[in-house]
């Protein structure tokens, strides 16, 4: 009798542990995001895929944006190269949040049809899932979830899953109606914050949300950054991210410390500005601060998430596959991220 009681208690404990959070992502594999507008892998990228046995590519197919007042696809990826057949492709669509306030009637069907057609035209066969990425908020939650439900209903008869990105602030809200979520562990801070936090990934920004991981009802995996930003600032005020500039130009920049460059002249650069214009004006005395979390910082936060939600990193996704990014970290780092 005593033994039976013990077993019952053990089972209850196990069940309770299961109900604390969702399960892990099914069939986890080392994964990457591909976020460029042209699909073309160079040799370093191909080598990265092979070396780390990458099994899934979450590939941004297009954005959905409001164009001339209509919800339309935008910045569709073009294919300069066949997509690897041995890697599962997850077509990913980024939806600009303001679309959720527009007329979404029929958009779910159009979105699914478009993805299916793109797969067919470009011979992308290894597709079992679609992912939707959107920075939804409390205000747009209901419309977004309705939209996801529509997409899911369209995918189910096709035997396809639906996943969605989950930003940290969304952990405290209701979980979206999808099969699993990808916790975005990048862009965790405000880019214009003046608190000295690393806007790409900073434990101080992550910490307040960790407690929500345990009971989050969706199965989750996590995506981790492999990129760096060059932030242009006047004083402590953010002006722009400099994407494609030659920081070795000594007529314009002077490095005063590792990762800290001072602008030594005035010049307008053909770089998108935070105010939406195509030119960014750098001024004498401005700073360019390179931000990139160190490998140990990322690994520490991975451990912290793992502690709160064991198994969340069984499938880790690197954001994003690009030679410019992947060389920011060494092979050992990626091995540690992928092999949890």
């Amino acid at each position: 009798m005593k033994r039976i009681t013990y077993i019952v208690l053990l089972l209850a404990a196990l069940m309770s542990s299961c109900s604390r959070g969702g399960a892990d992502v099914q069939d986890p594999k080392p994964s990457v995001y591909y976020w460029r507008t042209v699909f073309s892998l160079d040799s370093a990228e191909q080598q990265f895929l092979a070396q780390h046995h990458v099994g899934r590519i979450y590939m941004r197919y297009f954005d959905v944006a409001l164009l001339r007042g209509n919800v339309m696809p935008n910045a569709t990826i073009s294919f300069n190269q066949p997509v690897p057949q041995d890697i599962e492709i997850i077509p990913t669509v980024f939806i600009v949040e303001n679309c959720l306030n527009a007329d979404l009637n029929g958009v779910a069907q159009k979105l699914v049809n478009r993805i299916l057609k793109m797969n067919k035209v470009h011979n992308i066969n290894n597709v079992k899932e679609i992912q939707i990425d959107c920075d939804w908020t409390k205000n747009s939650q209901e419309r977004y979830f309705n939209f996801l439900n529509e997409v899911r209903q369209l995918l189910t008869p096709l035997g396809m899953r639906l996943s969605a990105t989950i930003r940290l602030h969304q952990l405290i809200m209701k979980a979206p109606p999808v099969d699993y979520g990808v916790l975005m562990m990048y862009n965790t801070g405000a880019i214009d914050a003046t608190n000295g936090h690393n806007p790409i990934l900073d434990y101080r920004d992550v910490y307040p949300y960790l407690k929500n991981l345990r009971n989050y009802s969706l199965p989750l995996c996590a995506a981790w950054p492999a990129y760096k930003w060059n932030l242009l600032k006047t004083g402590n005020q953010f002006k722009a991210i400099l994407y494609d500039v030659n920081l070795a130009d000594t007529s314009l920049y002077r490095e005063v410390a590792p990762g800290h460059i001072v602008v030594v002249a005035n010049r307008s650069l053909p770089e998108p500005n935070s105010d939406g214009s195509d030119l960014t004006r750098v001024l004498l005395g401005d700073s360019v601060i390179t931000v990139m979390p160190t490998d140990s910082q990322i690994l520490d936060i991975i451990s912290a998430t793992e502690k709160e939600r064991p198994g969340i990193n069984k499938q880790a996704i690197i954001y994003s596959l690009d030679t410019k990014n992947i060389n920011n970290y060494n092979t050992q780092f990626y091995e540690k991220v992928f092999n949890r």
Binding site: N70, P73, V264, A265, N266, L269
Partner: protein
């Protein structure tokens, strides 16, 4: 014909935003060796102009030009005004062209604005259509629409990705085509094909000539410094891209120097670049390989000026004005010389004589140059307008202020006001700010000078310019009130017409307010409903009442009478101060952050304090009146704050009474009176929550 510059008292409202604050304007680039219009894509407006000329139908429905992108499916029944115009004109040739054009535009539209991703078959069909359109376009044998058809061929080939075909096509037809927007667009497509084939240098040159500066800036992004210019020069001393690079370099370098001077910092890298550039320019001029020495000479001159070698720079700029290059380059040298001279010469006859000639020239250059944008109020806005603004606002205004030449400053600023406004009868903040900041006497002197014998330069500046008489008199009267010169203000204010006062947007606001009320007793927060007309000139009445009240004080024989007169005077001062309900009596703008900020401004709040104290110092005042004076004096927002915030040793914020402050002392006097006479208090005192709180806190403090 003499034209009056009428500046309305709209400024009553407008100036409120800048009552005591600066007006910040941009500092523009000075060096402009190529036309500003060329930095903007002019293809679309030029093409649109063609269609608008084609038929009044299109003028009535210009959005149909863009709508050509989605009429392909129902071309024959289309109601699009462009197609309808061709149909009504029975212009078969145009209809045929439009049929091909709409097919092409429709494909482009569907590529960018469609949920329907094309299947392989659809892509093949789309490509076949584009090829067919290209073939039909190529087959056109007429002359009238040949440029349009040639462009259509290249557009189709571009969408098909046939860049090499476009390279060949352009080279084959370019010499057969007269200049047109279509030819420029073909050349733009050709440049794109060059980029595609890796020929960046030739593409950059074309983009320069087409004025596509965004593209050239991108393609030459690694050449935008001294080393880059050296490489470009070594590659081709006559490269059109060099004109872009040199102009870009000079503007960025001189702008950096300007910032460094403004913020008293240094820019050693830029100084080195400038010195290196000057050496390069000397070499270029010596080599003799450039076809535009005026460009290099003027760049060298302006940069020499920017690093402090102004005399040498001005001399080099003068030489550049006659050197080989385009007219624009020589004009640019002269513009740079004007700026350099203004920035390096002290105000005085030599500078004024120079300005007399050169400003006239600059205005002519401004008129001859096409506007780069059509500002809402500015009649012309182009590079020369911007240089003029730099000269007047950033150089002459501070220099003349520093030199104390108020008359010349006022003349130039008024002239600039006239220039900036054109035919618009409004105001510009700069000039209003200037006038607002003059004393009454300076305003009178300035106006007198406008009508007196002046130098030819001054005459030229003041030509067509006069302050509208009503505005002038109101301005002087207001300034005199502000300076406490009430008697002197009267003759000026008497000349202001009621129709002028009632035409001002602030008239209703003024009509709803009364300076005779003590502000502590009668709050005046809101406008009255509806539009109210002024029945009299309130400023004039105020002056008269103030003079009368002061006379009353002098004539009073008893303490009570003297006290009542003083109380009234104090109320007048307070109401007309920047903290009063009737602030408009002494200034043209008001904000919560205001303070005394004008030259020779009288301290109205200080005067109010003095007169309240005078009232309180009189003998024989009734109990009721004493309460009024004590209450008004305690209410007066003048002097240090009664309560101050401090941190204690544990950094906790604590609030303390500032016992030395006038306000505290006035409140203590009121409290003492109220404590002594609890049964005879007038309602405003007995119900005063501030006093009640003060009594409680003061006791417990």
């Amino acid at each position: 014909m003499r034209k009056f510059l009428t500046v309305s008292l709209l400024a009553f409202i407008g100036l409120s935003a800048l009552a005591c604050g600066p007006w910040v304007r941009p500092h523009y680039y000075v060096f402009s060796a190529y036309h500003r219009n060329t930095v903007e894509n002019t293809f679309y407006p030029r093409m649109k102009a063609f269609w608008l000329d084609y038929s009044p139908l299109i003028k009535a429905q210009p959005s149909d030009i863009d709508a050509l992108s989605y009429v392909e499916d129902n071309f024959d029944e289309s109601d699009n005004s462009v197609i309808r115009a061709a149909r009504e004109k029975k212009d078969t040739e145009m209809l045929n062209y439009l049929r091909q054009l709409t097919q092409y535009l429709n494909i482009c539209y569907n590529i960018s604005m469609s949920w329907d991703y094309p299947s392989e078959e659809e892509t093949a069909h789309r490509n076949r259509t584009l090829k067919m359109v290209a073939i039909r376009a190529r087959d056109y044998s007429g002359t009238r629409l040949a440029p349009q058809y040639h462009l259509l061929v290249m557009r189709c080939q571009m969408v098909l990705g046939e860049h090499k075909k476009n390279l060949a096509y352009w080279n084959n037809v370019k010499d057969k085509l007269a200049p047109s927007v279509y030819k420029d667009m073909m050349r733009d497509i050709y440049a794109g094909a060059l980029v595609n084939s890796g020929n960046i240098d030739e593409a950059s040159n074309i983009y320069y000539e087409l004025g596509d500066m965004a593209s050239i800036m991108w393609l030459k992004r690694d050449e935008r410094n001294l080393e880059g210019i050296k490489r470009e020069y070594a590659r081709d001393p006559k490269s059109p891209s060099l004109i872009f690079l040199v102009q870009d370099f000079v503007n960025n370098a001189s702008d950096t120097r300007y910032s460094a001077n403004l913020y008293a910092s240094s820019c050693p890298e830029t100084d080195n670049e400038i010195k290196g550039f000057i050496a390069l320019a000397q070499k270029v001029l010596k080599d003799g390989k450039t076809d535009c020495p005026a460009l290099w000479q003027s760049a060298m001159g302006y940069l020499n000026h920017s690093i402090g070698n102004s005399q040498q720079g001005i001399s080099q700029l003068t030489q550049a004005m006659t050197m080989k290059g385009t007219d624009r380059m020589r004009d640019n040298a002269r513009t740079c010389r004007l700026v350099a001279t203004c920035e390096s010469t002290k105000p005085g006859k030599q500078l004024y004589d120079f300005l007399f000639t050169e400003l006239k020239w600059l205005l002519q250059a401004e008129r001859n140059d096409a506007p780069s944008s059509t500002g809402e109020y500015a009649p012309i806005q182009n590079h020369y307008s911007e240089v003029l603004q730099n000269i007047v606002y950033d150089t002459l205004d501070p220099a003349l202020t520093q030199a104390g030449d108020t008359n010349m400053r006022s003349l130039i600023m008024t002239w600039m006001e006239r220039h900036d406004l054109g035919d618009y009868e409004g105001f510009s903040p700069d000039w209003k700010n200037l006038l607002d900041n003059l004393t009454a006497q300076e305003t009178i002197d300035f106006n007198n000078r406008l009508g007196s014998k002046m130098t030819p330069f001054e005459n030229w500046l003041s030509e067509n310019t006069k302050i509208e008489p009503n505005y002038f008199n109101d301005l002087v009267g207001t300034k005199m009130i502000r300076e406490g010169r009430f008697q002197e203000a009267i003759p000026y204010l008497q000349k202001v017409s009621m129709s002028f006062l009632n035409s001002q947007p602030i008239a209703s606001y003024v009509a709803a307010r009364n300076y005779k009320f003590q502000p502590c007793l009668v709050p005046q927060y809101e406008y009255r409903d509806g539009v109210i007309s002024l029945k009299n000139n309130q400023k004039l009445e105020f002056c008269r009442d103030m003079i009368a009240a002061k006379a009353e004080f002098q004539k009073a024989t008893t303490g009570a009478e003297k006290a009542m007169a003083a109380y009234k005077i104090a109320g007048f001062y307070l109401q007309a101060s920047f903290r009063g309900n009737c602030w408009y009596l002494s200034r043209y703008g008001n904000s919560v952050n205001d303070e005394m900020c004008y030259k020779e401004e009288a301290d109205f709040l200080g005067e109010a304090a003095h007169w309240y104290e005078t009232a309180l110092a009189q003998q024989g005042i009734s109990n009721k009146d004493m309460q009024l004076y004590l209450y008004a004096n305690a209410w007066l927002p003048y002097g240090e704050e009664m309560i101050v915030a401090e941190y204690d040793s544990n950094y906790n914020l604590i609030y303390k009474y500032n016992k030395q402050s006038r306000k505290f002392k006035a409140m203590v006097a009121l409290k003492q009176f109220a404590t002594k006479n609890p049964n005879s208090l007038i309602p405003v005192v007995s119900k005063c929550d501030v006093l009640r709180q003060f009594k409680f806190l003061y006791v417990s403090n």
